[in-house]
Amino acid sequence: MPSGYIPGALGLALFVVLVAAAKLAGGKVRDNWEHGIGLYGLGLFLWGQYSGLFVAPREAMMGDVGRILYVHVPAAWISMMAFTWAFAGSFGSLMLQAPQQLPKILGATGAGGALGIAAAVALDGTPRKLAAFFGVLLVLAFLECLVLYLGHRFFGWDADSADHFAESSTETGIVLGLLLLFLGAVFAKPTWGTYWTWDPRLTASAIMVLTFVGVSLLRATVSDPDTRRSWVSVATVIAYINIPITYMAVKWWRTMHQLQSTPNTLDSDMTFWLRVNAWAFLFLAMWFVARGWRIAAARAAAEAPPPLPPAREVAR
């Protein structure tokens, strides 16, 4: 079996080419480039689904039921990925409220991240873990700010467009998340004999989806666009940061009740088909998010404020 990363690498290369083409060519290409990545994702999806059903080997313990993994696991990964995008968009929206600050923040996070990583290399024990944790966090913040800065410079991103990205990502995450919960139930019935297992991952996912449903309802409630943007950004950031602690709590709660967990010993063929399907979900999700982004932007343009009325003669 070839490496499961090849279809992904090809797709990501295609993505870069398409974005560059959209930037350079403009016009029709600029407004429709994402269909390329969507079609590639659809191709991978057809291939991966057919293979998952008929080509991939039977799982050792679960038999054919194990084939559900090829839709269940990608749905889990990519819904999580979509919520990560939502977080990145909302964080970006908060950052882009003052884009002139970005170079300064880039310097600070870059230097801090480098310092943290250096400290992690030099130190030992708990200090090393702490330094590594904060170092990686700062490096991630640096990368995010770099992307924001480039997007702001070359693609005209602002707080609003970042928020539109967060909006469509949240929506995609919720759709995939709800699918994931349904698939979890379908998977649980034959393997564990019940439709719902309080498996930590499944439980945490359910809570995560609920949290983001709340956030998107908040978006629907607030009518003023500026207020909506800043509130939803903040709510998304909080919802996302809360995920790890929810997962920890649920996991802890469950391990005390001893429950079987998902088998993770897959042979290499299965890993390959799992990856193909995961890439397919990823590229399809990219198409969803890109389309949703355009729709949100178009709607925002429609509700844009009217121009200022002309100045009036002032009597003195």
């Binding site: 709340g214 409630t221 500026d226 509130w231 903040v234 929810t246």
Partner: protein
């Protein structure tokens, strides 16, 4: 003219003001207490009435009652501010937004802890769930009660402002807040149940530290973001 007080002193003053209001209209805390009590009693009806099972549900019932009572408490805490738009008055005075947040969160913590304290003997009696282990166990219980109230109060104070400002229906607050406070609810109720039902494996400290981590995360995050919600944008 004396100097303008700093953020911490302003926060304490806001908390003091909120608590003074609670003292002036005690019917509100009493109402909250009976609301929570009704829930605790109703949960007992829906659970299996055998003492062993009841004891295992006691912690969950207590914290569920407190969580639901907290939504009422939070609505009331902002009703006071919105009656005459005192909240804008605070921001323009100017009281630092973080001071408004921490002040109100402290006051809400105190109200929840008080309701929890009043509820405790009744839960112990109704669920036949005494806390064995003497004073050390009661000390742990007090810590759990305090930390749990604080863990509910911070996201509550934050999201109640959102829903008040959005003039959203009262359904919005639970929708936003409940999924978020799952870790706090889980750890507080597990720790309480373990205290009542016996902690063979010594798990209580673990749950308490999780509660503490949750509290720290939310008290810092939401204090940071409160300004961007309370100010016009």
């Amino acid at each position: 003219m004396s100097a303008r007080p700093g953020v911490i002193r302003q926060a304490l003053m806001v908390a003091q003001k909120d608590l003074l209001i609670e003292v002036r209209s005690p019917s509100r805390v009493v109402g909250l207490f009976f609301f929570a009590l009704a829930l605790v009693v109703l949960i007992a009806f829906t659970a299996d009435a055998s003492p062993g099972v009841l004891r295992k549900t006691a912690g969950g019932a207590l914290w569920l009652g407190l969580l639901l009572a907290s939504t009422r408490a939070l609505d009331l805490s902002y009703a006071v501010e919105t009656d005459n738009d005192a909240l804008s008055g605070l921001v323009l005075w100017p009281v630092h937004p973080a001071a408004v947040f921490y002040g109100k969160a402290i006051a809400n913590t105190a109200v929840l802890a008080l309701v929890g304290t009043l509820l405790t003997p009744l839960v112990v009696a109704l669920y036949s769930a005494p806390i064995p282990g003497g004073w050390p166990a009661w000390g742990q219980y007090a810590v759990i009660l305090g930390l749990g109230s604080a863990a509910l109060a911070a996201p509550g104070t934050f999201y109640a402002l959102l829903t008040t400002r959005a003039r959203a229906s009262s359904v919005m607050l639970p929708l936003l807040m409940f999924p978020l406070v799952v870790p706090a609810l889980l750890s507080a109720s597990r720790a309480t149940t373990l205290l009542m039902d016996g902690d063979g494996m010594g798990e209580v400290p673990g749950w308490v530290s999780l509660l503490l981590a949750f509290g720290l995360l939310h008290w810092s995050l939401e204090g940071l973001f409160y300004g961007s919600i309370v100010e016009d944008s």
